[in-house]
């Protein structure tokens, strides 16, 4: 099966700034592919070159077998696009926007079921300017689905949404994939990439620094799991160091962090604490996340 997107050596320069530098990747049909990185890393420039909205200074992109620069209008018949910075006239109504955009495509689906699916049925007669941020984003997704696209681009879909709306949006994206569509999304939320994407490309300063499934990326770190708890009594650290899975123990005040690997870590720690009659509370585990992967690869924290 041919990949939905093939990008080779993509390069885009703004003045002195190399926004996208030798970026290469493939997006497989039917997957949710995420590009994550801090703001300004080059995500939007990359996605807009692939959509044919920006002209790259070098490299190739092949999207659904088409060249986005040469076949831009034809390509946009087959893709759905949600842009990071776009809007509609304030006084256009939800149904009017759908009706209007449907007319821009040779082939479009009935938009009434889309309104239902995206939870906009009650708002169908509301003006765009009166919608909440989440409602606007859902309308933009509806617009991106009007032409029944094989491939849909979502650029910073959940930026500016509250956690609840963000989770609802994730369900929507999974739903889109379930209909057999390919999803290419960008985000600067590592958690979003981890929960939502089949494969993730981590981009920083215009370069892809890692590309794999979130699970493989995290495993590749060889990072340790952590068991964290608070002491209410006294602790002999040797008790914990004696557990085979434990690599080290840190104690700051009453907070204790036990580092280690292997499936027996948690039960080992709990059993040892029980056997030693150590009084503790708030015990929980922390797994490494994509956030840790980014930190390990770039030496920097992700910042919002």
């Amino acid at each position: 099966m041919a990949p939905a997107i093939t990008v080779e050596n993509l390069r885009k320069v703004y003045g002195d700034l190399v926004a996208v530098d030798s970026v290469a990747f493939e997006v497989h049909e039917g997957e949710i592919f995420g590009m994550v990185g801090p703001n300004g890393a080059g995500k939007t420039t990359t996605i807009e070159c692939i959509e044919g909205l920006r002209r790259p200074d070098g490299g190739n992109a092949q999207v659904l077998g088409m060249n986005p620069q040469r076949d831009g209008y034809e390509l946009r018949e087959h893709i759905g696009v949600q842009l990071q910075e776009a809007t509609l006239p304030d006084r256009i109504k939800v149904w009017e926007a759908l009706d209007l955009f449907a007319a821009f495509y040779r082939k479009s689906v009935d938009w009434h079921p889309l309104l239902e699916q995206l939870g906009l049925a009650e708002k169908h007669n509301a003006s765009f300017g009166k919608l909440s941020g989440g409602q606007k984003q859902r309308l933009f997704i509806a617009l991106a689905l009007l032409n029944d696209p094989e491939l849909i681009f979502l650029d910073e879909l959940t930026t500016g949404l509250d956690p609840q709306a963000r989770r609802a949006m994730w369900d929507l994206v999974r739903n889109i994939r379930q209909q057999g569509k390919t999803v290419f999304l960008t985000t600067h939320f590592m958690e979003e990439a981890e929960r939502l994407c089949d494969r993730v490309a981590i981009i920083d300063h215009g370069k892809i620094v890692a590309l794999d499934t979130p699970e493989n990326l995290i495993n590749s770190l060889g990072a340790e799991n952590r068991v964290v708890f608070s002491l209410t009594g006294r602790l002999d650290e040797e008790l914990l160091r004696a557990i085979p899975d434990v690599t080290r123990v840190e104690q700051v005040g009453e907070r204790v962090v036990v580092y280690g690997q292997g499936d027996g870590l948690v039960s080992g720690v709990v059993n040892a604490l029980g056997a030693g009659s150590v009084r503790f509370r708030d015990l929980h585990t922390e797994q490494p996340t994509l956030e840790d992967v980014f930190l390990a690869l770039t030496g920097r924290e992700m910042r919002d």
């Binding site: 209008y73 946009r76 696009v81 009017e96 009706d99 209007l100 821009f104």
Partner: protein
């Protein structure tokens, strides 16, 4: 074609929902008609060379509507659409830029025509408006004036870096021109200096052309106006196509 039709229809609805544009195009000319009509009536007067005040004012108000649509409505709408990202959203579809430009011209032409039809009907019913020209000649003059002033709007939108600048530039050109061209104020009352300055304003040529055609002049006697407005149109199309930007 379906895209063009839907976009034109939608933009027409949005135009009518926008109080500022709808007011200046549809209501303001009627207000002027009623205010000055109630003061001066439409009896022939030597001040207007033996014509009635309303008869002379209607073709001039036509010029006013055309100018306000071109320099305010088109310039502001297009630059706001660009600045706010409406054009960006359109661009992510197969919609062509020429479809957007065509729809913009069509809808603004329709709204200008609507404003003028309302004005003429009201003037006819209330003040027994007189018309001595050839309807087709006036229609042709109206189309030429619209296109040349719309192109001015495209130039302002294309060259202005922000929507705010487009709005200010549009107003700064529009308001003085409205009064100094005779479109919004009787030019018979101008002193000589203003009258000579007035000759250099594009809107003066619209006023002269439409007023002349309204009272039965032939196109041949208005070659200056036709050349000026035609030149503006050509320059406008060239500048507008070169300066059109999606964002």
């Amino acid at each position: 074609m379906r895209g063009l039709w839907k976009l034109t229809l939608m933009e027409a609805k949005l135009f009518l929902r926008e109080p500022f544009a709808a007011f200046f195009t549809l209501a303001f000319p009627l207000m002027m008609l009623f205010i000055f009509g109630s003061i001066y009536g439409n009896e022939p007067t030597p001040f207007f060379n033996g014509r009635g005040s309303v008869d002379v004012s209607v073709p001039r108000y036509m010029a006013m509507i055309i100018a306000s649509v071109g320099m305010l409505s088109i310039a502001i709408t297009l630059s706001v659409y660009r600045e706010r990202g409406v054009l960006r959203r359109y661009r992510a579809t197969p919609l062509r830029p020429q479809t957007i430009l065509t729809a913009t011209v069509l809808v603004n032409f329709a709204m200008t025509s609507l404003g003028i039809v309302l004005l003429v009907i009201a003037a006819k019913i209330i003040y027994n408006l007189h018309f001595d020209g050839n309807p087709l000649a006036v229609l042709a003059g109206f189309v030429l004036a619209c296109l040349s002033f719309f192109s001015l709007g495209f130039i302002i939108a294309g060259l202005a870096p922000t929507a705010r600048v487009a709005q200010v530039v549009g107003m700064v050109i529009f308001y003085p021109m409205l009064f100094l061209s005779g479109a919004g104020f009787p030019r018979e009352a101008f002193p000589e200096t203003i009258r000579s300055l007035s000759k250099f304003l594009p809107l003066t040529h619209v006023v002269t052309l439409l007023e002349g055609l309204w009272f039965g002049d032939l196109w041949g006697s208005h070659l200056t106006e036709v050349v000026v407005l035609g030149g503006m149109l050509i320059a406008g199309v060239i500048v507008a196509t070169r300066t059109f930007r999606w964002e």
